[in-house]
């Protein structure tokens, strides 16, 4: 048992006068940012057309020590950090969705791109024919997207035109496009899930690495004192990621896209994960200084209570302001029935009494375990030069021994996590080293009441090194030649061992 914050005290509405001692650690947390390719190295950089590398379950543990995995973790934490409320001249500054912003040009371009993508709906009408669930009109939509991806990216992403590979050579555009096209659901299966969302994160990560977001310094930005650190990242979240989520929600509603590999009520959300991470950061306890660790508990004073999540009318009231509630309200749009029945995990989380900081910490851990470490989700993630399959030299020792854990239930996640950092390392330090945030999870979501350590190994798993059995198999995985109508079946169960 990790022993952190297990108390049931009142919600922490006020920040402590000094950084909480629990976060102290020998190593000062470094808030890494994704590295931008320098112009000098850029000249000689060799782009690689992204290809899949995760072919079977055990490959996931290799993924967990790859540079791509490291970079995804850094980027998510970088965005997450930026969303935290700040304490500025004795006032709490929060960053809601509806606050006026002046997004930099690259973010505005991204938003225009997303608008254009959304507008393709008008060109791909619903199919009136016999239907199962997902509407096959979405295949037309996706086909148009594929056909126009090159020109769209060149049009809206300045500099991309020059980046397209000439003839044989692979250019940056080829890498970026792979993640862009992976971001909008599966045309074949008419579904959308966290793997597609992950692809969009990688798309943004590619742009970041390519320096796309670095604007030439303008006279306005000279006045650094007014700027709260993380502004660019916040613009990406509020000005691109949230609009992306809105496009996705529109697509889901319009074409009745399926939840990819639905767990039914036993997943966090049928389609999304990222809004719960960034949305909880948005409401967490404010930080006083940029060197302060990311809070592990506590809420900003003005934050809605976590318990509002379970009240549909409250969720609706907050949906235009806070990402977390925007996502919850969408669930309420789509699902009919008691919230605690159709979304029990979110319901349980809404009972957390230690504030949004604690929820944020948990969401990051859960994302690591239930998205990044799940074969069905990451098996179609492609690797190029920007998100590289190459091993991260610093990562080897972190998860090198946990390969076999992948196919059986682990004990608890949080307690196992102490492997790397030792007892003095805070969970957050581990979270920033995402591989250490939890052991590679087995099936199911761990609950600490489970006194089953020692019996877990008796859980029989079928033969053949079937991978861990995570949620949301996403992206296309069709055997060649299959074009049956059954493929348009809502929430069909796919065999977890299927490639």
């Amino acid at each position: 048992m990790s022993g952190h914050y297990r108390g049931c005290g009142p919600e922490l509405d006020f920040p402590p006068a000094s950084p909480p001692s629990t976060a102290s650690s020998s190593a000062t947390p470094s808030f890494q940012k994704l590295e931008i390719l320098r112009a000098s190295t850029r000249q000689n950089h060799t782009f690689i057309r992204p290809t899949k590398r995760i072919h079977e379950g055990p490959d996931v543990s290799r993924f967990l020590v790859s540079q791509a995995y490291r970079d995804i973790g850094i980027f998510v934490l970088q965005l997450n950090r930026a969303m935290l409320p700040r304490r500025v001249s004795s006032q709490t500054q929060m960053f809601p969705l509806d606050a006026p912003r002046s997004d930099p040009q690259p973010v505005l371009a991204l938003r225009d791109l997303l608008k254009k993508v959304e507008a393709l709906i008008d060109e791909a009408p619903l199919d009136p024919g016999p239907r199962r669930f997902g509407n096959v009109g979405f295949r037309t939509w996706h086909q148009i997207l594929e056909e126009r991806a090159d020109s769209l990216l060149k049009e809206f992403l300045p500099g991309m035109a020059a980046e397209s590979g000439s003839n044989e050579a692979v250019g940056a555009l080829d890498e970026v496009k792979a993640y862009f096209l992976g971001s909008f659901g599966s045309a074949q299966r008419l579904d959308y899930g966290t793997g597609h969302e992950l692809s969009f994160l990688a798309f943004l990560g590619c742009l970041w690495k390519l320096g796309f977001f670095v604007s030439p310094p303008s006279p306005d930005s000279e006045n650094k004192e007014d700027k709260i650190p993380g502004e660019l990242e916040r613009s990406i979240v509020l000005g691109a990621i949230e609009p992306y989520l809105q496009v996705i929600r529109r697509l889901i509603l319009h074409y009745t896209l399926e939840p990819a590999g639905s767990h039914g009520v036993w997943g966090l959300d049928d389609h999304s994960f990222v809004p719960y991470i960034l949305g909880s950061a948005q409401l967490a306890r404010p930080i006083w200084s940029e060197s302060e660790p990311t809070p592990l508990e506590g809420s900003a004073p003005q934050s809605p209570r976590p318990s509002d999540v379970a009240k549909p009318e409250r969720a609706t009231a907050h949906r235009d302001r806070w990402m977390y509630f925007s996502a919850v309200a969408f669930i309420n749009d789509v699902k009919k029935g008691p919230f605690w029945e159709h979304s029990p995990i979110l319901f349980d989380v809404s009972g957390i009494r230690d504030g949004w900081g604690k929820i944020n910490k948990g969401m990051l851990k859960m994302f690591n375990a239930e998205v990044l470490a799940k074969y069905p989700v990451v098996q179609h993630f492609p690797f190029g030069s920007l998100f590289s399959w190459e091993a991260d030299p610093d990562a080897q020792k972190v998860v090198g021994t946990s390969v076999h854990l992948a196919s059986q239930p682990t004990t608890t996640t949080s307690s196992v996590a102490s492997g790397e950092g030792g007892p003095t390392a805070s969970p957050w330090t581990q979270a920033t080293r995402m591989p250490g945030a939890g052991a590679v999870p087995g099936p199911g979501i761990p609950y600490s009441r489970a006194p089953w350590a020692g019996t877990g190994s008796t859980v029989p798993m079928p033969r053949g090194g079937v991978p861990d059995t995570g949620p949301l198999p996403v992206m296309d995985s069709f055997p060649p030649g299959v074009r049956g109508t059954a493929s348009a079946q809502h929430s069909i169960t796919k065999a977890p061992w299927a490639k």
Binding site: G362, R449, S491
Partner: protein, 523 residues
């Protein structure tokens, strides 16, 4: 080999002559086919074995570890092993209230259930009348609605075609209730296995998480999975009538048809009102109020994406149907998914070793995973397990096995049921508003009992008490068993089907529970 009339007759006589040996005609036939001996020789051997077995010593002890003597009794008269009837009734009452029973009781229940299920063949024989249900997926309140619409146990004879668990919030309560009812009324409940009744699938799709959340340990999940391994793979319904039994709920405003026997398909709403029916000859709609009336009658409007038409089977995507002309009065095969290229006759299912985790491939896997599709022959399944199979496959299979219909589940149908391939196969789906969001209606399929005495010949498959061993009802020369040629004039088409369509249960009555401890990520 199998299915020859002479063999069958001889076997039946011989089987009855060795009563009370609890071996069925079916087992004998299978055995004959297997070892390629004459039925007489086999029977003689068995009689001799039986005499030896009557002396103290194990005979079938490996199959019935607890009480082999009890197994010889008809199941209906057999008391549930070691389980006090009162305990069982109490557990049923508790589960009906949607409250889980203690872990120790689950353990005992699962133990009992296994002892019962181990006696069943891979293909259970069920006599009409029976009500056939598709996927439940832990939608407990909708299961209660199903019982309300279809009649309560044991008044109604039920056959559930698997997928009791996963995705829904109440897989545990749903499955345990069905299992309790199975143990309590073994002759009234038939449960066959779905692809979700599997360790690997339940760890992915929710049942495992649910058990952990509700019990704090995986023990209950483990007990349930052990039961899954013993569930039958399919069922054969015998004695289904070509005419519908009177609909007790039919109101005076119900449409009238000159002769009841003309009705092949009747679709009723949850209140028993006839929405549509189809006569046998023309397969045209005889009468019906607007099918979409069901939505308003129930007071529950279908959600987004709901069909506007709870439409006529055999129409729409099914194409124009000429009726099920192929196999009059044949049996109905029930299986969760569909057919397998490895199974050309039903008897091959009986030869499988089913008592295991569902394999990734092979006949057992296919039966639980396959889907019918508008293709020719066989196709790869997008699911990554099982196959797609076309109309030609189904028609040949039904003809070869003297089946009039295959009933299966496994795929969401917005209208609750869907007949395909000239009514040779039907998908029945019993989870309304699937996953709280699909807006579909659910259905159950009622097959009436043939009281004319001309129905198919009942036979047993080795599970005691399921029938009288094949010598009782409808005996004599008039029998037309599923193994015999269907030589009678094909005047009538397949069994008359009454579909009852229902919506998700109202949700206002469910209270809000206390919040549970969160997953470890949030500690």
């Amino acid at each position: 080999m199998l299915g020859r009339k002479d063999d069958e007759k001889a076997l039946r006589q011989l089987a009855s002559s060795v009563e009370p040996v609890s071996l069925s005609l079916e087992i004998l036939q299978t055995a004959c086919a297997w070892v390629w001996v004459t039925p007489e020789a086999l029977i003689n051997f068995l009689i001799a074995s039986r005499q030896r077995a009557n002396a103290p010593g194990p005979c079938r002890r490996h199959l019935t570890p607890k009480s082999p003597a009890v197994a010889a009794q008809p199941a209906s008269r057999r008391p549930p092993l070691n389980l006090e009837m009162g305990d069982l009734d109490r557990a049923i009452a508790q589960l009906r209230a949607c409250r889980p029973i203690p872990e120790a009781e689950v353990r005992e229940l699962c133990h009992k259930a296994r002892e019962l299920l181990i006696e069943e063949g891979n293909v259970v024989t069920v006599n009409a009348p029976v009500t056939i249900c598709g996927d439940i997926h832990g939608q407990f309140h909708d299961l209660m609605e199903l019982f309300r619409v279809g009649g309560d146990v044991p008044d109604t004879n039920y056959l559930f075609m698997g997928d009791f668990v996963d995705r829904g919030f109440y897989s545990l309560e749903s499955f345990l209730l069905l299992l309790c009812l199975k143990v309590r009324y073994p002759d009234r409940m038939t449960l066959i296995r779905g692809n979700h009744e599997s360790r690997q699938i339940t760890t992915v799709y929710g049942f495992y998480d649910e058990c952990l959340r509700k019990y704090g340990s995986a023990n209950v999940w483990r007990y349930c999975c052990d039961v899954f391994d013993y569930l039958a793979l399919g069922a054969i319904v015998l004695g289904a009538s070509n005419t519908l039994s009177p609909n007790p709920d039919t109101s005076s405003e119900a449409p009238t048809i000159d002769e009841d026997s003309d009705v092949e398909i009747q679709v009723c709403n949850a209140d028993g009102q006839i929405m549509t029916q189809f006569s046998r000859q023309a397969r045209s709609r005889v009468h019906g109020r607007s099918p979409s009336g069901a939505a308003t009658t129930n007071g529950v409007a279908p959600g987004a994406g709901a069909p506007t038409n709870t439409g006529p089977p055999g129409s729409g995507a099914s194409g124009s149907s000429g009726g099920s002309i192929g196999n009059p009065a044949g049996a109905v095969l029930c299986v969760h998914g569909g057919l397998s290229p490895l199974i050309d006759v039903v008897d091959k299912i009986r030869l499988l070793d089913r008592k295991q985790e569902v394999p990734h491939e092979g006949a057992m896997c296919d039966l639980l995973w396959s889907d019918p599709d508008e293709i020719d022959g066989w196709g790869l399944s997008p699911r990554g397990a099982g196959f797609l199979f076309g109309a030609d496959i189904v028609k040949v299979f039904n003809h070869k096995n003297d089946l009039s219909l295959i009933a299966r589940a496994h795929q969401l149908v917005m209208e609750g049921f869907k007949e395909m391939f000239d009514a040779n196969i039907v998908t029945v789906w019993s989870a309304p508003n699937y996953c709280y969001r699909c807006g579909n209606v659910a259905a159950l399929l009622e097959l009436s009992e043939d009281e004319s005495g001309l129905g198919v010949f009942a036979r047993s498959n080795g599970e005691v008490g399921r029938s009288d061993g094949g010598v009782g009802s409808g005996g004599g020369g008039g029998s037309r068993g599923v193994l015999t040629e269907s030589s009678r004039g094909a005047v009538m088409s397949g069994p008359a089907r009454r579909y009852r369509v229902f919506q998700a249960a109202p949700q206002d009555s469910r209270g809000m529970p206390a919040k549970k401890p969160v997953a470890d990520y949030f500690l």
